[in-house]
Amino acid sequence: MQDFRHPTESAPVNMDTFLLGIWEENPVFVMLLGMCPVLAVTNSVLNAITMGLATTFVMLCSSALVSSLRHHIPKQVRIATYIVIIATFVTVVDYVIQAISLELYRSLGAFIQLIVVNCMILGRAESYASRHGVVSSMVNSLGVGVGFTIALLCLGSVRELLGNGSLLGFAIFGEGFQPWVIMILPPGGFFVLAGWLLLFSWMKQRDARRAQQEEVLHGA
């Protein structure tokens, strides 16, 4: 029996495996993956949290399963297999959310089912889980999931605050506040995402510039 082992397989699991997905490889702000739910369901904080947690759960479970089956899945049918696995956990989440609260299920609409086609999850399965051990894959997926949830929260809180004057349904501004309705409509999603991306790339550039300056100093 041949060995499908990948060279990175023996890499140790450490804090970086987890943190990578939150900051350096944040799926939304750095890799720009999974934009459909990012733009569509971030119109309120509650929706953003639920969507983030649901996606994290699906990613965590599918990564674990993909990783544990990685030596048995032939290369030719791997994508089909991953999709079946991901779809299974999405269906599970779908039922669980309906069981927890119909209100919540109603507000997320079709986007729960659409987690299946989130390229971020397939990407995790293909580029990480199929090449690493179960523990490492789960830690990594959890990191990316938390990064995704934080990103959704960033968008959701800004949009709910500006578009509805509230956070988690509680009014923040007084009666006189005129809600900026466009923020909870689709264009608002693009505006707020653009704002966050601007902030992130500005921070990245600043860091790069500082590193360069330091290098020059050390060189001199």
Partner: protein, 228 residues
């Protein structure tokens, strides 16, 4: 043999193993889905029932004193419990003295995103709609979903006129949604500005349902008022 040729020869598993892998994974998936479905089913059914109960209660204030009827070709038929049978269901509510107070009726129409389903209260006494409760809607949060919460919009349905004509067969006036701020008659619904499509969907569904149901209800009013 070059490395490349060797690799491609190695990486060519038989179709049996390909089909086998997919079937095994599909079987694991099927098992998981069925398992979770079985576990969550009672909770989901209970949630749906509770939502309906809440809706009926908020419209009729009748607690558990109610009868379920099905509207079919043969008029109104009483059904025991929620038997899930096909057809339109109406729920008749009674007060503490077993007096008939009104009906809760379901209506639906496509809104801005998807079908909007509401339950509305109907008082045969005044021939008017006495309230609505949104059961299902995927309308835009902050705009379309205001039909569930906007006080001044819901005020439309405190006593929305649904008078039938003299021989009790058709509505005297069609229920319709008018532009925000231009409501003049008791059978008109004042739309929410910014949520016109959803407001209109509500008007449309109430009108369609009223046309169909009100004559039947008025015809069988005696049957409804006599609680068994």
């Amino acid at each position: 043999m070059s490395d490349e040729a060797q690799n491609s020869a190695l990486a060519q598993p038989s179709s049996v193993s390909l089909v086998g892998t997919l079937s095994t994974v599909a079987m694991i998936s099927g098992f998981l889905v069925v398992l979770v479905y079985q576990i969550t089913l009672p909770a989901i059914t209970a949630n749906k029932k509770e939502a309906l109960e809440r809706a009926i209660f908020s419209l009729l204030r009748s607690g558990d004193r109610r009868e379920n009827y099905r509207v079919g070709k043969d008029g109104l038929t009483r059904v025991e419990g929620d038997d899930g049978s096909a057809g339109r269901h109406v729920y008749a509510g009674y007060n503490d003295d077993n007096q008939f107070v009104g009906l809760a009726i379901e209506a639906a129409a496509p809104g801005y995103q998807d079908v909007v389903r509401v339950l509305y209260g109907y008082a045969p006494e005044c021939q008017c709609i006495t309230g609505i409760y949104v059961l299902e809607s995927k309308e835009t949060p902050g705009l379309g979903d205001k039909v569930e919460t906007d006080e001044s919009f819901l005020e439309n349905f405190r006593a929305l006129d649904g008078q039938l004509n003299a021989d009790m067969t058709v509505l005297a006036n069609d229920i319709r949604t008018v532009k925000h701020g231009s409501k003049k008659n008791p059978w008109e619904i004042d739309a929410i500005s910014g949520a016109t499509v959803t407001s209109k969907a509500i008007g449309r569904m109430l009108n369609d349902s009223a046309k169909l149901m009100f004559p039947v209800v008025q015809l069988h009013r005696a049957q409804l008022e006599e609680r068994r």
